[in-house]
Amino acid sequence: MNVPVLLRRELRDAVRRYWFLVNASLFAIAGILLMVFGQPDAMLLGARGHARSLAGLMQLAMVFVPLMAIVPSVVAIAGERESGTLDYLLAQPLTRTDVYLGKWAGVCSATALSVLVGFGLVGVAAAARGVPSSPVVALLACTILLAVTFVSIGLWISARTPSRSRATSLGMTVWILLAGLGSLGVMTAFVQWGLPAWLLQAWSILNPVEAYRLAGIVLLDRETTALGPVGAGLLNRAGPGGVIGLSAISLIAWAALALALGLRSFAAADVRGGRVER
């Protein structure tokens, strides 16, 4: 099993490249700014005080973490295929599963480390302002799960596309659909077409970014009104534990499904230079 060797390679490469440092720094700086300069009495996502600061951090993570996870993962395989290094790697005594899992674990670790460093610095700032550690840790766990989900989706895209540019375009499209537009556009469509509420609730749980948002808000402040009508309905129906559980299942299912589909694509594909043949 050569997965640990490949994981170390990916992790080392990520740390060596600029994106790891840039992601961690941007995330930390934005989080600390929210903590330090935020108005404690103001309300954000229905929360006040420390919950308000963390809710701000969560809003930031909803847009930023999927992006910082999907950008390196979509090029992880497509980039190597394009440069010809994938051929040589696969000509070694490795299985395709080894190579795929090594890359997945490596990019997941690097992205999680970015989140951890960013959150860690924010956590220090939060502790200095008297914020209890448990909501920070819970939100951190959810954020890492969100990152892993988007790494899995990004790597699946990477396994199916021949070039770095095409993989990046597809990755950005997925990010815009799931994180950029969020539920706003979908909600508008639902209102426009008069679709039932349960369908919108299902969509909120099925969209990993929305699932993360719902879990985060419930974790931070169960009395919050920031869940919106859809989230509130879901909270009434499933209860706090149910919302958190369903959200976690959604994120894990996305990650597992994308990982399985990516493994399948990668195992079946012919590798020849910058082409993918099935």
């Binding site: 010809g84 290094t85 051929d87 040589y88 696969l90 195992a267 012919d270 590798v271 020849r272």
Partner: protein, 310 residues
């Protein structure tokens, strides 16, 4: 002798295009086999099948193990030197450490091989791969392949990207590879194949059109071996007449820069002595090897021959 590589009806298609069309061949342990063919003949695709980079129809076995994308055990028996060594975003030391670990060999063994290839490890180990010359990069990959001690060494046009000096250097190292290693190489250069391979497989349109020795190849394709002789300008006409009188010489061509003659290898030395005997001052001479285009042109003309000389 034991077959280490065996292909039965090996076929590879990309969509409607057939790249390998039902190949049947065996390669014995310790053999040196050269794959000849024009671009697109299927040489690299055959290697890709062997390494499990692509799926295929038919059977391909290595030491009795089925080759294919899932055949990790096959890849542990095959060391590979690519046509254009890919440039990983790493230092030479980082690259060699990674792939030594993946192949399960020690970095010391790779470094030892590299130093045997004339590379000063201490000087180059920290350099990024992108900063290395083509020759140096190729040596890094060759050191890895040799240190792996795989029973089969696959070389895909190993000198394609090298300058003449690096090419000579690499070929010299390849001729020193022990007989415990089966060597399969693809090349465009017939002059390179001669010292390296005793058996030639000629691929054209995805089929084997010749399987035999290089000498057999000249015979089958009726390709003329030759000699180029440089003599003083005032002796050129006399030299040409003397050469025409030699029974082994055919087709004498004088072009003002020397004399080109068609003559079998075994008679070439005798021809040079013949000139000297007639007081012609030979300033320089060079053996002329037919180009791949010459050989493939002959096959296109209909000099086809089935596998194993059938």
């Amino acid at each position: 002798m034991t077959a280490v590589v065996r292909a039965e009806r090996l076929t590879k298609r990309y969509g409607r295009r057939t790249i390998l069309d039902g190949l049947d061949f065996e390669i014995e342990r310790g053999e040196r086999v050269a794959l000849l063919g024009m671009n697109g003949a299927g040489k690299t695709t055959l290697f890709r099948c062997l390494l499990g980079l692509v799926g295929f129809e038919g059977r391909l076995t290595v030491e009795g193990l089925e080759a294919g994308p899932g055949a990790r055990a096959v890849r542990s028996r095959v060391a590979y030197l690519p046509q254009l060594p890919p440039v990983f975003d790493q230092s030479l030391a980082g690259f060699l450490e990674l792939f030594a670990a993946l192949r399960g060999v020690s970095i010391e063994a790779v470094v030892e091989r590299l130093e045997q290839l004339g590379v000063a490890w201490a000087e180059v180990s920290g350099r990024p791969l992108r900063a290395l010359s083509g020759g140096m990069l190729q040596k890094g990959y060759l050191a890895l392949a040799l240190a792996a001690r795989a029973p089969i060494l696959v070389l895909d046009e190993p000198t394609a990207s090298l300058d003449p000096s690096s090419r000579r250097d690499l070929l010299r190292h390849l001729t020193e590879v022990g007989r415990d290693t089966t060597m399969i190489l693809a090349s465009h250069r017939l002059e390179e194949i001669e010292p390296l391979a005793e058996r030639i497989l000629v691929l054209a349109d995805g089929r084997i059109v010749f399987d035999g020795s290089l000498t057999d190849l000249w015979g089958v394709t009726e390709t003329e071996r030759g000699l180029w002789v440089d003599v003083p300008a005032d002796e050129e006409a006399a030299a040409a007449a003397i050469l025409r009188s030699h029974p082994a010489v055919r087709n004498v061509r004088v072009n003002g820069r020397g004399i080109g003659i068609a003559v079998e290898e075994t008679a070439q030395l005798d021809v040079l002595f013949h000139l000297r005997h007639h007081a012609i001052r030979v300033r320089d001479f060079r053996r002329l090897t037919p180009s791949l285009e010459d050989v493939m042109g002959r096959f296109a003309d209909g000099h086809k021959r089935g596998p194993a000389g059938a």
